[in-house]
Amino acid sequence: MPATIDILGVRHHGPGSARMVLAALDKLQPDAVLIEGPPDAHDVLSFASHAEMRPPVALLVYEPDEPSNAAYYPFADFSPEWQAIRWAQRHSAEVRFIDLPWSNRQPDEKKLSESSVVEDDTLDKLDKPDKPGQPQQIRRRIDPLEELAHAAGYEDGEGWWGRLIEEQHHQREQVDKGENALAVFGAIMEAMRAVRATEHVDEADRNDIENARREAHMRRAIRQATKQGFSRIVVVCGAYHAPMLTSDALERVGSKSDDQLLKGLPKRKTAATWIPWTNDRLSMWSGYGAGVVSPGWYGHVWEHADQPAVPWMTRVARLLREEDIDASPAHVIESARLAQTLASLRGRSMVGLNELTEATLSVMCGANPLPLKVIERKLIVGVCLGSTPDETPAVPLQRDLAARQKALRLKPSADDTLLDLDQRKETDLERSRLLHRLCILNVEWGLRQQSAVKSTGTFHEVWKLQWKPELAVKIVEAARWGNTVLEAAQRKVLNDARRSSNLEQLTILLDHVLLADLAGAIEPVIERIQTISAVATDVRHLLDALPPLADVLRYGNVRKTDAALVEPVVTGLLARICAGLGPACGSLDDDAAAAMTRRIDRTQSALTTLDRKDLIEPWYERLRTLGEAAIHPRVAGRCWRILLSAQVLDTADAARHVSLALSVGNDPAFASAWLEGFISGSGLVLVHDRTLLGIIDRWVCSLNGETFDRICPILRRTFSTFEKPERRQIGEALKRSAVEPDSRASSPDAISPVGYDLQRAELVTPILRLILGDPL
């Protein structure tokens, strides 16, 4: 008896399609179910009916040697393919994936991991029977579904298909659902045949070639199944492919030409497994995924096939209440009623998402769209993370991670959660280490947050955790580094360290290593830093590297890491900095000098926090010589200021240096730059030290008009860095000194700070009075 072949053209995610597939399968009772999917995953197919398997899940097909080359095939509960697999397994029918193996596909240069399965849903299409595709020529990229929807008078393909197929509910009185489903599939086939017949195929187009190959492979698999003696074969595939897989098509094309097409394809080694997936990734909102706008809604329709309106509205009301927005049961009833009336007004047999949303807006939200926006993601997309049974083949690294997660009671969740870790507790410390290690492996499950509590405590760490399904791939990717999280992180760090010769990167790496407590990696990384810093010619990099290391040295002990290891590095770095600082500060332009000043400041504050005499003394010594060297005046000024603030320099000395820098012999530009370096940041020194203020005051007064104009902007910039009260106090101090002539006896040539001679001014006042008509 020749085998019968039935083709069920579906859309990959659609509750209506799924339900019809089930009805059709029940009716046809096939002994083989062939599904458009990657044969690479054949070995793991049996897990689909595992008790602990809960969709959304995805098949992950990857190259073990190059795990970043991977493709996902997501399945939700309402995916027709998923239901077909489950049906076949329930009824002990043979189930097979028949698409072109992923191992034979041409790797798409750069968007492999990104685009993955998306290609399928631009292809799977269907149409309404009474309106065959009218456009004469449809390029597949134009998306036939859209075209057909437009022909039927709909805005978008999704809405049109949704209304026709997915949201169609089966009336109870319907005698034979299976019969009905088969009729619909027949109609879909007709429509798609019309689309395919008018379609223009470009021989050279990559997508078209790929598509031809995939269909050839599917045909070959069907032939093979017939040969093996299966008598009732059902093929579940994207509607777009349906017309090319029928027994007619099998005969028309012939196995020879198919073999020809499939000859000489590349062959790569692949492995497959199931990974948990999320609704988010099923929706288009995230940029990629399998192209369903509203998985939450589809899931709902799948669950509540007959009467979706009331349960949906109840869900809306619950979500609104969670956000503290009033939504009473009366609201639920009224909005469900409105949605149903709207649907009948629009001639629909069942309410759709549009009607429900509009009713919600009008009844519950008073036409204010904001509350709806708040719950939109939870409602329409749905926050849902699938799970896979423990026995699913997984890379050892993933198993290790799962074990660690279990031990530390850190459950992956698709929702954002904040985690405040107190590192004085053993578990929290372990958790923090795990998260840091994962970060090193680029598995960004947790994101370090700025602590909300004051940042002075070093034992608090705040993380934002969100599990994203693509992290599963990152884990597979990271698996090449090792079989446990610790081991992999350590190897990855060592590898990074070996490859990097950038001192700053290395110090950041060291920081990570210490946070992640990778004991085995600390020493090599530090050695690497030593080596690099020894040959580093640029003191700027050394200066940049020192503060983070100093932090490690200072706070490392809180995390129970051996900070002593860092100490030699810091000492070595500082020695090199001191040696190289002089030349590094020579011949700087203004911008470079400003940057250098900032670096010196940072190093200074790092060293101050370390509070180690043996480290800081050579540093001050170096600054002192630097201040006297012929370097950029701004840096020099800064050196003296640091020394003054650190009380290494007494005020008398400081006054001498200021006076020297500001003396007449110096170019005013030099003097002002020096002054900027010296006083910028805080004006307190001027408030408290009148001598210094006097020197500066005298210097300013001695400038002639033209020079003053030139210098003024720099001075203004300098003084503007002071706090407002500081500026005021300085101003008051200057005013006082102007009133008390004895305080400025040493500067007889200075003019009054207000800028005019009172006595001379008084001479003109009588005339002025006269002019202004003042009676006095």
Binding site: D326, S328, A330, H331, E334, R337, L338, T341, L342, L345, R346, G347, N354, E358, A359, S362, V363, C365, G366, A367
Partner: protein, 366 residues
Amino acid sequence: MTATVNPAVTTLRQTAESEYAAELAALAKVDDREKPPRWRLSPWAVVTYLMGGKLKDGTVITPKYVGNQRLIEIAVATLATDRALLLLGVPGTAKSWVSEHLSAAISGDSTLVVQGTAGTPEEAVRYGWNYAMLLAKGPSKEAMVAGPVMRGMTDGKIVRIEELTRMPSDVQDSLITILSEKTLPIPEINSEVRATKGFNIIATANDRDKGVNELSSALKRRFNTVVLPVPDSLDEEVGIVEQRVKQLGRALEIPAEPPAVEEIRRIVTVFRELRDGKTLDGKSKLKQPSGSLSTAEAISVMTSGMALAAHFGEGTIKANDVASGIIGAIVKDPVQDRVVMLEYLETVVKERDGWKDVYRACKELL
């Protein structure tokens, strides 16, 4: 209305149901869908009446509302579910217009109106008394004077309440029983009026005005709300203005030619730019005047321009004819808005190609 004089000739403005009687009749003829009790047309036909379209028998229905069909669908569906409808929107977004046409299409009668003002008494909403009879015979059914709401309830018709939020709160709340229990108690004679099927309320309110009486949440809960937005695009708004100006010109018998689309486009552009606070190309920011600058105002600027052109001008609309209207619409506050307008003239209008005449005409008046 006496039958001797044709009202269409003398009435300044006809009710929707008489002005569009032909369209309503044509719709009723082809309408074979199910109608809610006492509705003249099916919900589908009501939507078609408002949105316009061509019927099977070739009759063209003019669009009454230019905008999103979904909104009108929600409005009609709301009335069909016996929930009251609240039309919200800034002034001039066709709220009253829509409510009038909805009641004309559904009940064939748009005259049951309560105008909400700060002084609307409860009697206007419920019922009053014929005091002579009340004194002579005491409280009785005969002594009662039914208000529009009461009449709508007995006749099963749509009642319109204009500017609901301007009514005092206690008067607003007298609607609660009517809306939730569909009865109007008359405690004086220990009786009540029960609403006949087909009765419903369309209220309009604007959400821009200050000093309105916010609806109590008990009342709000009994309304389905539909917000009528300002037109989305320039073309849509130009279309609305053009259509209405033509109709009004005919109704008011202004002997001027209807204005060219270009002229309308300029006025609408001015209104939209000032309303949105930025130029249409999105390049420069503008100060916003205090008025709401609705489409309705643009329409009245055009019609007054037409009248000016007809009686004092050259018969076709020139910039001079609309300038006073524009300024009148924009400069509501003589100090602040004047600055806004001057700035707009100097920075935007002056630079625009072909807008010299507008610039000069407005500048003269300011």
